[in-house]
């Protein structure tokens, strides 16, 4: 899950609700994490769907469709999984869909550079259903590494169709579509994974008993083996899917007891049986690879050299910080140019609107409300908030596509472990740059529930796209130096956010979420050359469209409210002045003022509107001749009594305060708990308030 449209709070958790039209084939797209599954999905469906280069990016399913030879196919991109039998919440969703979702075919996308590992999942699936197609992706990468995969031999050895793909180049997609089209309704049985004789003999009678009670088309042998392995979560999902408890059937229960006795007699504990079943799968995978793959053993020397350099002591931290600083430098530089252009454009459009309203004879109050209220906030949101995102996202997406982010997580795992957390939290923090709601959903990649909760509760310490333009705008006004100093200062802000993340994670591990760090398996995919053109176009378009949409839905009504509040009189003053005056004492205590606090409160629907709302409120209390450019921003803020101290406190509070409404709702959804949602609200707020109060106290 990356940083573009689908991960920004809009549809970041579609789930899999399959209701295709009758006659449409449903094709599930399965595979290990980071095998280019989403690239295949995008290439087939044309749906703009971001693909990233780290493990477990697809945190929830996505649906798309394509037409091939006059027939419509629904494609379900399900979360990446190493196995049907592992435990992460994310992978269980994938497993349930594959096992009981009833897809017409399962396409397993595999990585040609480590096919043997990928075949574990393939064989688990062919054991379940014969309607499997193996799509060996990254053939181009494999060729560069002198790995040769013979897909015909692979197909013969597995007993299911296999096609070769290089999805980023669009090669092999037609073959895949043809293989899907020509897959028979009941294909010949695939290669059978053979278990030790004692296991086979114990499972056979149980499978026969199950076959008598299961709905037709269900694989009794497969389920019998899972019952013997006592895979409880899978069996619970099966009971739910079939609508009855098959284990309660008298004959099944008797057969199960008999099978267990037989296994015990042969010396198989449940643990030994589970081991034996993976051993059987890998023995089969090794055998298949002997027929289909030719490669030189050992690591890729060029990749290894790069990795060894980047993980050197000193180099790794320096690389991380300088990459951030460079990204911010380019962002600030580029945003200035874009911002000035947008200001000019929007001012001109506002003028036209204004004249149109005069022309049609709109009442002055309405005219003022629409132009001074709604339009002005919209213009601020678009021209101040949009440009930094439009530059930042393509840059960050390039780092992501390059494969750098898992390296950062690798190097940061040690400090996270010391704080009782998981290194993958670094990845969820990166997702948080895009949107904290997406970051919270992304926490599903963390296996341990305790560590996942820590990552969820601390995600908003990473400033999302709705917040960091505020830093850039304020730095432009208050930073003593030029762009370079601003970029360093912004890097410092992110660093502070990271320190808060570590500190709060540590504190949580010692208090509310007491515990030690558990295990970690983190796959480091190879460095890959990013598809620069695609990245820029896709993230730019996605961001632009999304931000404009959000600006209209959140900023327009908020602008309206502020304008009304500034123009409705209560007592001696306006409603706005009454509210801000009431909040002022608290604001002052935190080094800010009532207007700022009111803007943060009104900004709960979307962080993008906080700064524009402040400016609106300040402008509403006096006449404002211009609303364009950094100079105007400086004029408004200085006139409203801002100092460097105010700016520092606003930045600190923006870095650490309540998450936006979308993020809070996502926390509620992910944790299923009001208590933890409240914690997600209070923890950053308390941290930010403490920091601000400290600054206000020490800096009179």
């Amino acid at each position: 899950m990356g940083l573009t449209a689908l991960s920004t709070g809009r549809g970041h958790d579609g789930g899999l609700a399959l209701r295709p039209d009758a006659g449409q084939k449903v094709i599930a797209l399965a595979g290990n994490p980071n095998v280019g599954k989403s690239t295949v999905f995008n290439a087939l469906t044309g749906l703009r769907r971001h693909t990233g280069n780290w493990s477990g990016k697809t945190v929830s399913g996505a649906l798309g469709s394509y037409v091939y030879r006059g027939k419509t196919y629904t494609l379900a991109d399900i979360p990446g999984a190493y196995s049907l039998f592992t435990m992460s919440a994310e992978e269980e969703a994938a497993r349930d869909f594959l096992c009981f979702g009833g897809p017409d075919a399962v396409v397993v996308v595999c990585d040609a550079t480590c096919l043997e590992r990928n075949l574990d999942l393939v064989l688990q699936l062919t054991e379940l259903t014969p309607r499997v197609i193996v799509a060996v992706n990254l053939m181009d990468e494999a060729a560069r590494k002198a790995i040769a995969v013979d897909v015909d031999a692979l197909s013969r050895a597995l007993g299911v169709p296999a096609v070769a793909l290089a999805a980023t180049e669009g090669r092999g997609l037609a073959d895949l579509q043809e293989a899907i089209r020509t897959l028979p309704a009941s294909p010949p049985p695939p290669r059978r994974v053979l278990y030790p004789a004692a296991v086979e003999q114990a499972a056979a009678p149980l499978a026969a008993a199950l076959a008598a009670v299961l709905p037709s088309g269900q694989n009794a042998r497969w389920l019998a083996l899972r019952m013997l392995e006592e895979n409880e979560s899978l069996l619970a999902a099966a009971r739910k899917a079939f609508g009855f408890d098959f284990a309660a059937d008298a004959r099944v229960a008797a057969a199960l007891a008999a099978a267990r006795r037989r296994l015990a007699d042969a010396g198989y504990t449940v643990a030994a049986l589970r081991d034996a079943s993976v051993a059987a799968l890998y023995a089969a995978a090794e055998d298949v690879c002997r027929h289909a793959v030719r490669q030189r053993p050992g690591p890729d020397r060029a990749q290894l050299k790069a990795d060894r350099f980047l993980t050197r002591r000193g180099v790794s931290a320096l690389t991380m910080l300088s990459l951030l600083a460079v990204v911010f430098f380019i962002t600030i530089k580029g945003a200035n140019v874009l911002s000035d252009g947008l200001f000019a454009l929007l001012a001109a459009v506002g003028d036209v609107f204004s004249r149109l309203l005069t022309l049609i004879g709109a009442p002055p109050r309405l005219h003022e409300l629409l132009i001074g209220g709604v339009w002005r906030v919209l213009a601020w949101v678009v021209s101040v908030m949009l440009p930094p995102m439009a530059v930042f996202f393509p840059l960050f997406t390039l780092l992501e596509d390059l494969g750098y982010l898992p390296r950062a997580a690798f190097c940061l795992d040690d400090p996270f472990r010391r704080c009782g957390a998981c290194g993958k939290q670094a990845l969820t923090m990166c997702m948080g740059f895009g949107c904290n709601a997406a970051g919270v959903t992304g926490c599903r990649i963390i296996d341990s529930p305790r560590e996942r909760l820590i990552a969820v509760l601390t995600n908003s310490f990473v400033p999302c796209n709705g917040r960091f333009p505020l830093f850039i705008a304020l730095l432009a006004v208050f930073s003593p130096g030029g762009t370079f100093v601003s970029a360093l200062a912004l890097t410092g802000v992110i660093l502070l956010g990271a320190l808060l993340t570590f500190g709060v994670s540590w504190l949580l591990s010692k208090t509310l979420l007491r515990g030690e760090a558990s295990s970690l398996t983190l796959e480091l995919p190879p460095f890959r050359r990013p598809q620069i053109g695609k990245v820029i176009v896709r993230s730019l378009l996605d961001r632009t469209v999304f931000v404009l949409g959000r600006a209209v839905t959140a900023a327009a009504p908020a602008g309206l409210i502020i304008w009304l509040a500034a123009n409705v009189s209560v007592g001696g003053g306006t409603l706005l002045s009454a509210v801000t005056a009431a909040l002022d004492p608290v604001g002052r205590l935190l080094g800010m003022d009532g207007v700022i606090l009111a803007a943060f409160l009104l900004g709960i629907p979307a962080n993008e509107i906080v700064l524009p709302l402040m400016l609106m409120a300040y402008a509403a209390s006096g006449s404002l001749e211009t609303v364009a450019g950094t100079a105007a921003l400086r004029a408004i803020l200085l006139r409203s009594g801002w100092t460097l101290r105010t700016a520092v406190c606003v930045m600190l509070f923006s870095l650490a305060h309540w998450p936006c409404a979308t993020t809070l709702m996502t926390v509620k959804k992910e944790t299923g708990s009001v208590k933890w949602t409240l914690a997600a609200f209070l923890i950053p707020t308390a941290a930010g308030a403490a920091l601000c109060a400290l600054v206000a106290f020490l800096w009179p």
Partner: protein, 81 residues
């Protein structure tokens, strides 16, 4: 074959997995990643602090924490050809 744990295998060496002394979900996860008895695992490079360490497991690079690597016994550690 002399038995040792994976943690003792230095970068630049590979070894054969003999047994996993890990239980529960992590055991299954390691097995599914291909850390099965008989599999070859190569030690590639360590994080700046020395923990975790990246290993080459069946063609893929996977990082394991030292505490977990210490519970995987291996044999026949030898430098790459």
């Amino acid at each position: 074959m002399v038995s040792n744990d994976l943690l003792s295998v230095p970068a630049g060496c590979g070894a054969e997995v003999l047994a996993l002394h890990v239980d529960g979900a992590m055991r299954r996860r390691l097995l599914d990643l291909g850390v099965t008895p008989g599999a070859r695992v190569d030690c590639l490079f360590a994080a700046p602090s020395g923990d975790p360490v990246a290993y080459l497991i069946r063609g893929a690079v996977v990082a394991l924490r030292n505490a977990d690597a210490a519970r995987i016994s291996v044999g026949g550690a030898a430098p790459w050809a």
